[in-house]
Symmetry: C2
Subunit: 382 residues, 2 copies
């Protein structure tokens, strides 16, 4: 019996054109290439979070090393083989193209989307990759005028290997509840384009007690708490402002199992129900018109990047069905820190282990989360 397909829907790539773009910059986000005098660590450094750009450290030790796992399709395939992944839906990593000059954003997005589509086509057409398949989430020129964004959403339908778009939480600069996004949401809805929503900006340092507090534990507070909260806040703002009322066809896939939305959905629902600002005014109740649970069951998919059974169970329960949760790895982030370069990645194994642990006897549920749901929802031809 053939092994069921394992599809990784949360896996990032920095194509060469994107590495070049970041290397040309000197403010966040940027890639710093240490000088020979700054060795022994001679890998370029990727500085993508404001908290990475600590001026008290030399640039050669800020951020994280960018090795070939970030930009090499061979490395991506090696990672897939090592972990039994048969298909990866690659996406540009944060912060995507959020920082681009409005004038150049559309052209850059088109180039990168074409590159991604071509790379997937080349991979999938090759006989030498043992059947490993690649698809992509495209990127949008969100700093460009809305008409450019809409035109790229429509154009992406002509790229056969692009199966949706990845997006951050800032939208056009004012968050995802910005009424100026309505045309974008209409275009996403009418083209049935799935949005993979991913955090980048985290929370302000002051939320954690200030930069000194954050610095004590490296990236843990921004990554472990800031990222999930950013996603939760973004989706909550969409929900509270009625985006899902006005655009009931929107389809969002939320990174990191929805941040904390599955756990907090009940509290959000309760706070809305008890909010005096939303009391009916002239017979019409203010605020969101649909239950957050209805939105979760209708408009939202969750990845399974949550590293533990309690979270994964809550994600499945909040999503309303095992049909709405999809395996992912977050590669190339969270690599093993040990010396064994051939070891399986703890970050991947803990997510796979949570799926196994939730469904020790239910092969059908495991098959859906590991790949079946992604194949169905994204329409992957494997």
């Amino acid at each position: 019996m053939p092994q069921p397909a394992v599809v990784d829907i949360h896996t990032h790539m920095y194509p060469p054109s994107y590495i070049k773009l970041l290397s040309s910059r000197s403010t966040v986000p940027y890639i710093y290439h240490p000088t020979p005098a700054e060795t022994p660590d001679s890998d370029p450094r990727l500085i993508i979070l404001a908290s990475d750009d600590d001026p008290s450290r030399p640039k050669s030790s800020r951020g994280r090393p960018v090795d070939s796992t970030y930009s090499s399709f061979d490395q991506k395939r090696a990672f897939m083989r090592r972990h039994g992944i048969s298909c990866s839906v690659i996406s540009l990593a944060n912060p995507w193209l959020d920082f681009l000059d409005p004038d150049s954003a559309l052209k850059t997005a088109q180039e990168i989307n074409n590159d991604l589509d071509a790379a997937c086509a080349e991979n999938n057409g090759s006989a030498s990759h043992e059947g490993l398949k690649l698809f992509a989430f495209g990127c949008l020129p969100l700093s460009a005028p809305a008409r450019d964004i809409v035109s790229e959403i429509q154009r992406l339908k002509s790229l056969g290997h692009v199966k949706g778009v990845i997006m951050g939480t800032t939208g056009l600069g004012n968050g995802l509840d910005d009424p100026a996004l309505d045309d974008v949401y209409s275009a996403l809805s009418s083209t049935a384009t799935l949005v993979f929503l991913h955090p980048h900006y985290g929370l302000p340092d002051s939320a954690f007690g200030g930069p000194e507090v954050v610095a004590k534990s490296g990236h843990v507070l921004p990554l472990a708490l800031g990222f999930p909260l950013e996603t939760t806040i973004a989706v909550s703002r969409m929900y509270l402002s009625g985006v899902f009322d006005r655009h009931p066809q929107l389809q969002f896939l939320l990174a990191h199992s929805g941040g904390t939305l599955p756990f907090l959905a009940g509290r959000i629902e309760s706070c809305v129900a008890h909010e005096r600002e939303f009391i009916a005014n002239g017979g019409h109740r203010q605020g969101p018109q649909r239950s957050i649970w209805d939105v979760l069951h209708t408009n939202i998919y969750l990845d399974a990047v949550i590293y533990g059974q309690p979270g994964l169970k809550a994600a499945i329960e909040a999503a309303g069905s095992v049909d709405r949760v999809m395996f992912g790895t977050d590669h190339p982030f969270f690599p093993p820190l040990g010396d064994d370069k051939e070891a399986k990645w703890l970050s991947v194994e803990s997510n796979k282990g949570a799926i196994d642990g939730c469904f020790p006897e239910d092969e059908d549920a495991k098959r859906k989360i590991l790949g079946g749901n992604a194949i169905r929802v994204l329409g992957l031809d494997l």
Copy 2:
């Protein structure tokens, strides 16, 4: 067969002395008494969150009305009877005594703790309350010198109805990972005093996109997301800084089912395992020495104030056992907004419904969460 005990461990009271204290102030936290000219809403207004104190609104409409449910023991008992609650462990509501002048803090804490103990004693000794029992979490003079805090922790053991303390997330002003708290943690450990950890300060408005974004949906963002994140950040900072390594006997009960800790514990564990700052240095791994799961299973209890099954299941799963989760109501907050003053409270029924829904066939589990765990952990004599 007698009904099993229902114990509410998350239920607040503003004793008359506390109402008087807040009424004497004009900056957050304070109680504003509208003038007759400002009627028709003549209830005093409680302004406890910075976001409540919106200068664009008249004071008579800021915050929320303080009616007799905040300070009346008769009202507390009526609420208990209406919802089948046999015992309440009352606690001062946020922000407790965090704002007090250091010189007066110890004396005020002693007075309020004595008042709470006396009120519980009077209630429990009375034949006229149909067996309804009251106990209390005391408050600590956290703005006072550490020796005053320690002395009050020790003194509280002599107050027979005080079964622990309630505390916010600021500690002595610098958070719960402040090394200056070590003497306080030692006193809490040596006296086996449970800490009920409760949020108050939320997140800065900038985390939500600014005050204008927050204002659009009343209290929803600060209460639904800011409060749970505050708790999660506070406990994570304790964990990351080694508080639970140095004080392995600490017992914390976390409000709102731990904020988001049950959902994010796996991600925290993974981020710690992948954090370069924590890589072993000279053979000794840096950072927290214990697994977050071990801390959850050993040092942490969770209330069941989470308003939905997905969250409650995750809380129980993360706590490691149905023995570590306890029913609560958050009374007098989240009252019904409708006209039926005799109606059961949605906020209470949704939490009870989640417990019923998680354990449709398991009366023993329900009995533990609804009261058995609180009786055992707090040593309640019912």
